[in-house]
Symmetry: C3
Subunit: 501 residues, 3 copies
C-alpha cells in the first residue's frame, strides 16, 4: 500500500476517534421521554423509509439516462450515476450539510426531540449555516442524523440531474469534480436560503410576501437548481458530434434501450412517493396522503398529456415523450404537492406534460442546445413551473406557521399576490445563482482542464477510453460512423425501417 | 399551442378552482384528536408505504411481460405497461373510485378518523357507489385520499394483467381505450360488490353464507378479474402469427431477455409484500406479519413446485415455469393470506405451482389460446384457486366482524360450508361479469375499430409502426422470418442449439 | 397428475390442518394490550418494511452476478438467484429457523409482546434451538412470525452469496442441494451461536469478554458465512475454462452487461438500508438513524476509495471496482453500524474500499481462485473486517444490556480489549465452521454427484443444456472460442479495442 494511503488513513483514524469524544448531542435518543418514543419513532421510520425510496431514485436516473443514450457509452453514463452518489455523500457530509442546515436556530431545533414534527426555527438573514461539521459534536444526534439522511438523498437528486445533459461527451473525471462542486457549494447554499432559514424563507416574515419562498419538496431547490447546472454544462460542452447537421438541422440520436428508460421512469415515479410525502418530515402529518395522491395524479396526467399530444402531432406513441411527460408532471407537483388538492394537481400535471414537449422541441431545434435526455426541460423548466404553480394555486388548507407566518399558504388565485411575488423572486435567484455559478464553474473547468473527451473517443464511444471496459462486450453492436448521420446497416434495422418511411 | 388545448386547460382550471371550494372533508387531518394522531399516522404510513410497493409492481409486470416476449416488440410491450398506469389513474379518479367506494355508508366511514383500522360500513344491496367524485367536496379528506391511493394501485394491477395476454399483436391505441374500460367500469363495479359494501359482501349478513364473499387482498377482485379480461382479449385477438403450425401444433416463441423476466418476478414478489399485508389497512393490525409470511411461503413453494415438476417432466430447469410458479403461488395466497396459517399457505402455494403448469399446457396446447406470458393461467386460474382455497382453509383465527358478521372467517375444513358457497358464487360472478363484459368490449371494439395491427407490422415488429422507434437500435438482432417457424441463423444460437437437440 | 404428487399433497394437507389445531401462540396479536398496540405496531411495520427491502436485495445480487458474468450463462446465473430464495425459504421454514431461534429462552421472549423492542433472552450454553417447527403450535404467533420474516430474508442473503463464486460452471441441481445445506444447517447453526443465545453470544456474560460476540446486522453471521461457503465452493469447483493461461496468468473475463451490474449495486445499497437499520428490530429505537447514515457513508466512501485507488493504479475508472468497493464498505459497516459514529463509519468504509481491491487482486492473481464476481473479497474478507472493526471502534454509546451485559459496547480503542478478543474468536469460528463445513459439503457432493457441468457445456454456455433456453435468443452474440483466450471478432469490439491498446 502506498505511503499516502497509510497517512490518510492514520489521519482519518485520529480525527475519527478524537472528534466524537466531544459529543454533546443525543446519539441514541436517550433524551426522548418514554411516552413520546412511539410518536417520534413513527416520524423517524417515515423519514428513513421515504429517504430510502429517494435513494432508490438514483437507479431510476441511471436507467433513464442510459436507456435514452447510446450503447457505446452505456458504462460511462450508468457509471456516472452511481459515482455522483458516492462523491455527493462525501461532499455533503464534509461541507454541504453544515452550510445548508447549520444555522444556530436551525441546528437548535434539529437537536430538539420534536424536530421531525415541526418546522425549522429561523433567525437573522442567514446566507449560510456554520454548524454540524462531520456530524460530530452536537450533530452526533439522532434527530440531526435523520435530517442528514433525508437531505443527503435530496442533494443526490440535484447532483445527478446534470449527468443526463452532459452524457456521451464529458470526461468522467470532470463529473467527479462537478459533483463535489454541486454537493459542497451550489446546492447547499441555495438550499439554506429556502429550507435552512435563509433569506428567501424570510421574505414572508420580514417583507410580508406571503410565507416567503415556499417549496414543499424541491421543484426549485432540487430540480430547478439541478436543471440549471444541466443547462450550463450542456452549453459549455456543446452538442455531441453528429447531433446537428451542417445546415443546423437537429438529428435524432436514438436511445439504445427503451425498456431500460421505461424501467427508470417507473423507479423514479416510485421513489417520488418518498420524495414528496417524506417531505412532511412526520408520519403523523396526515397531509402526507394528499401529497401522495397529488404526486400520483400529476405524474399520470403529465405522461398521458405528453403521449397524446405527441401522437396527435406525429402519429406515433413516443416512449420518450411519455416518460418525460410523467417526469415533468412529477417535477412540477413537487413544490405545490402539500398545498393543493388532487383536482389542481391534475391541472398542474397536465400543463407540465405539454410544457415539457414544447420545451424539448424549443431547446433542441431553436436554441440548438444538445441535452441527450431532456434534463433541462424536465427539471429546469418544470421545476420553475412548479414554483410558479404554487404561487398561483396554493389553496390555504396547509402550511400554517411555515416560516413563522400564521395561516395556510395561499396563492394568487386564492387572493394572495405576495406569495406569487416571493415565488417569482425564487425563480430569479435560481437562474442567477443556479445557472450563473454553474456556468462559471463549467467554463472555468473547461479552460483549466478540459471538460470533453477527444472527438475520436466520442465517436468510438466513451466506455473503453474512460472506463476501460465495454458495457456489452458479448453483443454485436450495429456499426455507426461519425455520429448519427450515417445509418447503421444491421438487417433488423433496415427491415424495420421500411415501416417508418 | 392549439386552441382546443387552451380551451381544455381553461375549463380544467375553472373546475379545479371552483370544486374544492365546496370541500367539507378533512383535508389535513385537523379533526383527528391529538392523542390519536400517532395511531392514525401509523396506519397512514403503513398504507402509503405498502401502496408504494404495489405501485412498483408495475415495473415487475412490465419486465416480466417484455422479457418473456420478443425484442422486436419490446418498446411496445414495455410501453403498454407504463401507459396503463397513466390511463388507469385518470379513469379511476374520474369514475372508478366513486363507483367502487362511493356508497353512502362506505364514504361516511371513510371520512371518519378510524377508517384505516376498521372495515367499511355496509348499507343496502348496493350495486355501485355514487359519491367521491374527483376527490372533491367531502372526498377532499385525508382518509378518503389514503384509501384512493391504495385502491388506485390495486386497480392498476388489474388493468396491467391483460397486456401480457395481448402482447405482440394489439394496437397501442386499443390498449388505451381498454384501460379506460377496465379502470372506469369492469374493475370498480365488481370491486364494489366485494369490497365496497356491494351485494357479494352481503351474502353473509343477509343470506347467512359465512361472512359473504371474502377476498383479503384480491385473488378475485384484482387478479381473476384482470385474468378474465386477459382471457377475453386473447380469444378475440387470436394467436400471434407463427404461434400455431398448420397442423395445430403449438410453437414455443422464446422470450428475448430471461434475466429481465426474472428481475420482473422478483420485483413483483417484493411488491406483493405491500399488496397483501397492506390490505390490513392498519399498521396496528399485527396479523400483517402472518400475511407476509404466508405470502412469502406460498410464492416460494409455488415457484419451487413448478420448477421441479417441469424438471421431472422435461429435464430442464425452466425459467418461465419457475417464475410463473412463484407468481401463481402469490396470486393464490392473495385471497386467503389473512385467514390461514403458514402451514396452509405452503399447501395452497404448492397446489398453485402445479396448477399453473397444467393450465399453461392446457390453454396453449388444448384450447390453443395464445397467451404470450401466461397471464390467464397465473391470474385467472390461480385467482380462482385462491378464492376457493379461502372457502376451504380459513381457520377462524381472523376476520371477526368482517362484513358485519361475528366470529372469525372459517372454511369448509373448519366446518363452515356456507363460506365455500359464497366463494363459489364469487367465482361464478367473476366469470360472468369479468369474462362476459370483457368479451363484449373487446369484440365490439374489434368490430368498430380493429384490435390488431396488420400482419406486416406484426411480422416486422410493432415498435417502429406503433411507437416510432426501435427498442434496441444499437444491437444487431437475429433475423426472423414469418414468426417462429423459420429459425434465425445467428451463430451463437446455432452453436448453442446443438446441445438442445 | 402423477400419483406421488397426489400423495404428497394429501400428506401436506393433513399435516397442515392438524398441526395448527395445536396452536397456543398469539396468531392475531389479541394478547397485546390496546394501549401498546401502536407501539408494537410501529415495530412490526418497521421490521416488515425493512425485511421487504432486504428481500429486494435478491434482485440486486441477481443483477450484479449476472451483469458481471457472460451472456451465454445469463439465464443460469440469474435463475440461480431466484431459485436460492425459493429453496432457502423452504429449508429455513422446515429446519433452519427452529435451529437458529428455537432455544427455550429465546422462543419464550419471541412470543412476548415486547419481542421487537428487546433483546433475546439467553439460557445455557446452547448449540442449537429446538422449538418453532413449521411455525405451528406456539410459533403460530405474530411476534415469532415477524421474526421469521426478517430472519428468513437475512438467511436468503447468505444463501445467495456463493452463487456469484460458483457462476458459469456449476450444475443448477447442485446449487439447489447446496441451498438446502446452507439454509438448513450451515447458516442457522452458526446464527444460533451469535443471535440465538448460543455460545458465542455468551462469551460476554459467562467469560467476561465484553458483550460476547456482537454483530449488529451480520457482517459475520450473514456475509462472512456466505463468503466462506463461496470460498469453499470456488476452490472445489476450480476456475472456469480459459480463466488461467498455461503459464498461470489470470485472464480477465469481462462481464456482459455493466449497466446491469450497476443497477444491481444500487439495489443492494437500497436494500441495505433495511438490512442494517431494520436490525434494531424496533421502530422506536431511534439509533436506527445513526445506523442508516453509517451505512450510507461507509458504502459511499468504500466505493469512492476503490474507484480512485484503481484509477491511480490503472488509469481507468473501473465500474467493477467502484461497485465492489461500495459493497465492501456496506459489508464492513454491517456489524459495527449500531456502535460507531458516522466519522468512524467513513474510516471503516474507506479501509474496506481499499481492502477489497487488494483482496480481489490477491485471490485472483496469487491464490488463483476463480471468483467471477468477487464474492469472497466482498463478503468474506470485508465481513471479517467488519467484525474486527467493531472490536476496535465501538464507542460505548449503544448496546447497553446486549447479551445480558451492562453498559454500551466498547472496542479496543475505547479501552476494552475483551470485546476485540470475542470478535477474534468469532472470526476463528467463522473460518472453521463456515469454510470447513462448506468445504466438506461441496467436496463430498462433487465426489458423489459432480458439481460441475461438462467442458463442452461450459464452453457453449450453460443456458441451453441446463435451463433449456437462451437468455437472449433475439440478439446476435459475439463468437467466443474456448473461453476468453481467443478474442471475439465483433466489429464494435475491434473498433473500440483500438483505444484500449
Amino acid at each position: 500500500m502506498r505511503k499516502w494511503v497509510m497517512g490518510m488513513l492514520a489521519a482519518a483514524l485520529i480525527l475519527g476517534l478524537a472528534v466524537p469524544a466531544l459529543a454533546s448531542g443525543d446519539p441514541t435518543g436517550a433524551n426522548v421521554p418514554a411516552d413520546k418514543l412511539t410518536a417520534i419513532g413513527l416520524n423517524f421510520v417515515w423519514v428513513i423509509v421515504a429517504g430510502s425510496l429517494v435513494f432508490f431514485m438514483q437507479a431510476g436516473f441511471a436507467l433513464v439516462e442510459t436507456g435514452f443514450t447510446r450503447a457505446k457509452n452505456a458504462a460511462h453514463t450508468m457509471g456516472m450515476n452511481l459515482m455522483v452518489f458516492l462523491v455527493g455523500a462525501i461532499g455533503f457530509w464534509l461541507v454541504g450539510f453544515p452550510l445548508m442546515f447549520g444555522n444556530v436556530g436551525a441546528l437548535a431545533t434539529l437537536t430538539g426531540t420534536n424536530v421531525l414534527s415541526s418546522g425549522l426555527a429561523i433567525s437573522g438573514w442567514n446566507i449560510i449555516g456554520t454548524k454540524g461539521w462531520l456530524l460530530t459534536g452536537e450533530a452526533y444526534d439522532v434527530a440531526v442524523i435523520t435530517m442528514f439522511f433525508f437531505q443527503m438523498v435530496f442533494m443526490d437528486t440535484a447532483v445527478t440531474i446534470p449527468t443526463g445533459a452532459m452524457a456521451e461527451r464529458i470526461k468522467f473525471s470532470a463529473v467527479i469534480v462537478g459533483s463535489f462542486f454541486i454537493s459542497m457549494l451550489l446546492y447547499p447554499v441555495f438550499g439554506n436560503w429556502v429550507w435552512g432559514g435563509g433569506f428567501l424563507a424570510q421574505l414572508g416574515p420580514k417583507l410580508g410576501l406571503g410565507h416567503g419562498v415556499v417549496d414543499f419538496a424541491g421543484s426549485g431547490v432540487v430540480h430547478a437548481i439541478g436543471g440549471m447546472a444541466a443547462l450550463a454544462a450542456a452549453i459549455v460542452l456543446g452538442p455531441r458530434i453528429g447531433k446537428y447537421k451542417k445546415d443546423g438541422t437537429s438529428v435524432t440520436i436514438a436511445g439504445h434501450d427503451l425498456p431500460m428508460g421505461i424501467l427508470g421512469t417507473i423507479i423514479l415515479f416510485f421513489g417520488w412517493f418518498g420524495f414528496n410525502a417524506g417531505s412532511t418530515l412526520a408520519g403523523s402529518d396526515l397531509r402526507l396522503a394528499v401529497v401522495e395522491v397529488n404526486t400520483m395524479m400529476a405524474g399520470a396526467v403529465g405522461g398521458f398529456a405528453a403521449l397524446m399530444y405527441w401522437k396527435a402531432k406525429s402519429g406515433k406513441f413516443d416512449i420518450g415523450m411519455m416518460c418525460n411527460g410523467a417526469l415533468a408532471g412529477l417535477v412540477a407537483i413537487t413544490a405545490p404537492a402539500g398545498f393543493v388538492s388532487p383536482m389542481i394537481a391534475v391541472v398542474i400535471g397536465g400543463i407540465a406534460g405539454l410544457l415539457v414537449v414544447f420545451s424539448l422541441e424549443f431547446i433542441d431545434k431553436k436554441l440548438k442546445i444538445d441535452d441527450p435526455v431532456g434534463a433541462i426541460s424536465v427539471h429546469a423548466v418544470n421545476g420553475i413551473w412548479g414554483i410558479v404553480a404554487l404561487g398561483l394555486f396554493a389553496d390555504g388548507t396547509y402550511g400554517a406557521g411555515l416560516n413563522g407566518v400564521a395561516g395556510g399558504v395561499t396563492g394568487l388565485f386564492y387572493g394572495n399576490a405576495g406569495q406569487l411575488v416571493a415565488q417569482l423572486i425564487d425563480v430569479g435567484v435560481i437562474v442567477v445563482w443556479g445557472f450563473g455559478l454553474s456556468y462559471l464553474f463549467f467554463k472555468g473547468y473547461d479552460k483549466l482542464f478540459g471538460l470533453r473527451v477527444t472527438p475520436a473517443e466520442e465517436i468510438a464511444g466513451l466506455d473503453l477510453p474512460e472506463m476501460g471496459a465495454l458495457a456489452y462486450p458479448d453483443f454485436v453492436l450495429a456499426e455507426e460512423q461519425a455520429g448519427a448521420e450515417a445509418e447503421p446497416a444491421a438487417p433488423h434495422r433496415v427491415a424495420a425501417r421500411a415501416y417508418a418511411d
